[in-house]
């Protein structure tokens, strides 16, 4: 509160370079659509389009246009909004910009090679560079590349260090938490998940399962194809799942946590002033309240397990549904590229065996619970599936 008064008194942030009514209405539109309930589905749609049309956009001209267009909006916005440039130029946020462009450019080269390789596979030709004996000597062909990379990386690091002082705020004051208090940026995807889950899920179970899932991955993925070269066609399921986790549930959530979460962890659009005085009403409702108070118009049962029975059953059913996909009697017909879900799962199950399949299905169930809870929060202001404060266990 005092912080925000000081900010108001000092007049920060200053005036942008350009302003006009047209720009203002553009900002309003962007601020509105960047709310998580709109932008995350939007990003997901873009993500799917990226995978479906990887052969088209990965050609140099479309990719270059995307890069130029994105850069123009990303950096150009600094000229039209001083709140935005304040956030973007915060010293510890600079690595996020580098990360975003790094991820984008690396994804582009990967999909460009995948397009080339997939074309060769379709035409029955060998993949480029697939001759195992086509070798060069490490001296000079590799050591020189390494030397050049070393020199360039040193230069870049020095340039960065000269140009941007490392942030140092006021001395530590255990009595005065800043608002908002944020973890280091690379953990902010998890801190953003705190909006939807309690700390034991967002801070312990989810990161634990990211690590266990990553380590288990090579043992779960029994697809022998795509070993040692970029391809999308030969392993669409693995790449879609993994990249959804990395791009949408990790990178995009980091951007949310760093750029779009202000005081009290309230959401602010990219061109909005971080006003600490804004109050957002807490309107979230537990599933058990919906069930007993709204549906049955009765009081909450005193036994916590009866009270939360509906949530426990539904959460268990969610996980069980994933574990038992191969035996689903219902056939979900013709999802493009996959076909029948249960048929696809049955094929996987046949390839993988019981243990591998169960580990995969369990990780997928928990991973899918993240977007599920987000969507339910946005649609029904759902707070917890299971609300058991008696055991500190809310899900």
């Amino acid at each position: 509160m005092i912080d925000s008064l000081i900010m108001l008194a000092s007049g920060a942030p200053g005036k942008p370079l350009f302003s006009s009514p047209a720009i203002d209405s553009f900002k309003d539109v962007v601020n509105f659509w960047s709310q998580p309930q709109y932008s995350l589905p939007l990003f997901t749609i873009l993500f799917v389009l990226m995978l479906v049309f990887y052969r088209k956009w990965s050609r140099p001209i479309p990719a270059g246009l995307i890069l130029v267009g994105f850069s123009a909006i990303y950096f150009g916005s600094m000229a039209i909004d001083s709140n935005y440039s304040l956030i973007l130029t915060k010293a510890d946020n600079v690595p996020i910009t580098i990360m975003l462009f790094g991820v984008g450019i690396c994804l582009w080269t990967a999909f460009r090679e995948a397009a080339t390789n997939d074309k060769a596979i379709e035409e029955g030709k060998p993949i480029p560079y697939s001759d195992r004996d086509d070798k060069v000597l490490v001296w000079p062909d590799l050591v020189y590349i390494e030397l050049i990379c070393l020199v360039l990386a040193s230069a870049a690091l020095l340039f960065w260090s000269v140009g941007l002082p490392a942030p140092l705020e006021a001395p530590a004051n255990p009595a005065g938490p800043p608002n908002p208090s944020k973890a280091p940026w690379y953990f902010l995807g998890l801190q953003e998940m705190l909006v939807y889950f309690d700390p034991w899920m967002a801070g312990v179970i989810l990161p634990g399962m990211i690590v266990s899932g990553l380590i288990a991955m090579p043992y779960i993925d029994t697809n022998p194809k795509g070993n040692g070269y970029y391809t999308f066609k030969e392993r669409p399921f693995a790449i879609t799942t993994w990249l959804f986790g990395f791009i949408i549930l990790w990178v995009v959530l980091i951007v949310f946590g760093t750029f779009l979460r202000g005081p009290n962890w309230n959401f602010f659009g990219p061109y909005e002033y971080w006003d600490a005085l804004i109050q957002v009403p807490l309107t979230n409702i537990n599933l058990s309240d919906y069930f007993w108070l709204y549906l049955f118009k009765s009081e909450l049962p005193t036994n916590p397990f009866v009270r939360e029975g509906i949530g426990i059953v539904l959460s268990g059913a969610w996980v069980l549904a994933f574990l038992t996909v191969p035996w689903w009697p219902l056939m979900v017909d013709n999802i493009p590229g996959i076909g029948k879900v249960s048929g696809f799962a049955r094929k996987l199950f046949g390839q993988m065996g019981t243990i591998r399949f169960l580990i995969l299905a369990f990780h997928l169930a928990i991973m899918a619970m993240m977007p599920l809870k987000m969507v339910l929060r946005w649609l029904f202001t759902l707070k917890y599936f299971i609300y058991l404060p008696e055991f500190n266990m809310n899900l």
Partner: protein, 260 residues
């Protein structure tokens, strides 16, 4: 004249005791250059053409290792100037910029750490997208995942050391997660289950997971010392050992991946 001097130097016993081969100009001496150098012999002598393309590897694994070395060197230098106690920590950091000639050490160390986080993510993405985790490289992928976690922990523990507002509150947010660990954290689910006979709670506010990490109930001087030791000794040593395993296994698992 110069050639005569070079010819003389390269003919001395000292030179020949260090370099066991001539200038790497032909196949034999180029192979020797790799084999007779302890650092270079991490490499094979010959490598598949597919593996040295920048568009394939993005050089991200190598960059991560380079940044690890840069962090180690700048970190050792920083230790000359820094005392991990609340009385001095912040002023030592201020002094780094004010009093130390070419006071760039902290910048190099901090931005290098962020860059290393980015490069290790991109390295992981490359290995995933090129399917290089598949047999026979499953184990090395697992080693890599642990190295990823260690890198983030190294960066996290280092975040506290400047002892400014950014530092202690970021670590407070992070270590609050420890309090929520199931069974082991005071505010976590089922934390009253671990009990001694007679109903004595094992997990209390002074014995839970967050207390183990912070050596206190909040981020204080004990936490600073603990993070300092983890950051400067424990985590780097474990990381260095795992890096050695990671590199060794690359060779043992058939070198850089490529299409079969």
């Amino acid at each position: 004249m110069i050639q005569a001097i070079i010819a003389y130097i390269t003919s001395t016993q000292i030179w020949n005791s260090v370099f066991r081969h001539g200038v790497p100009r032909d196949r034999r001496t180029r192979v020797m250059a790799i084999m007779s150098n302890v650092f270079l012999h991490l490499h094979p002598v010959a490598i598949r053409k597919s593996g040295i393309r920048l568009s394939f590897t993005w050089c991200m694994g190598g960059l991560t290792f380079f940044l690890f070395l840069a962090e180690a060197i700048s970190g050792v230098l920083l230790m000359f100037y820094y005392r991990p106690v609340p009385e001095y920590a912040y002023s030592d950091i201020v002094g780094l910029r004010a009093h130390v000639t070419l006071g760039l050490l902290r910048e190099i160390h901090r931005w290098g750490a962020h860059a290393m986080i980015i490069s290790i993510w991109l390295h992981m993405m490359r290995v995933f997208l090129s399917g290089s985790y598949k047999p026979p490289r499953e184990f090395n992928w697992g080693v890599g995942v642990i190295l990823l976690v260690l890198t983030m922990l190294l960066s996290f523990t280092g975040y506290l050391l400047p002892w400014d507002q950014l530092a202690i509150w970021a670590i407070t947010v992070g270590s609050n997660m420890g309090k929520a660990t199931p069974f082991l954290g005071m505010q976590g689910p089922l934390s009253d289950l671990p009990q001694l006979p007679g109903g004595v709670a094992l997990v209390t506010v002074r014995s839970d997971a967050a207390y183990l990490l912070l050596a206190g109930t909040s981020v204080g001087e004990n936490a600073l010392m603990r993070f300092y030791v983890l950051h400067c000794i424990a985590l780097p040593v474990v990381t260095a050992i795992l890096i050695a395993i990671h590199f060794w296994r690359i060779r043992k698992d058939g070198g850089i991946s490529g299409p079969m």
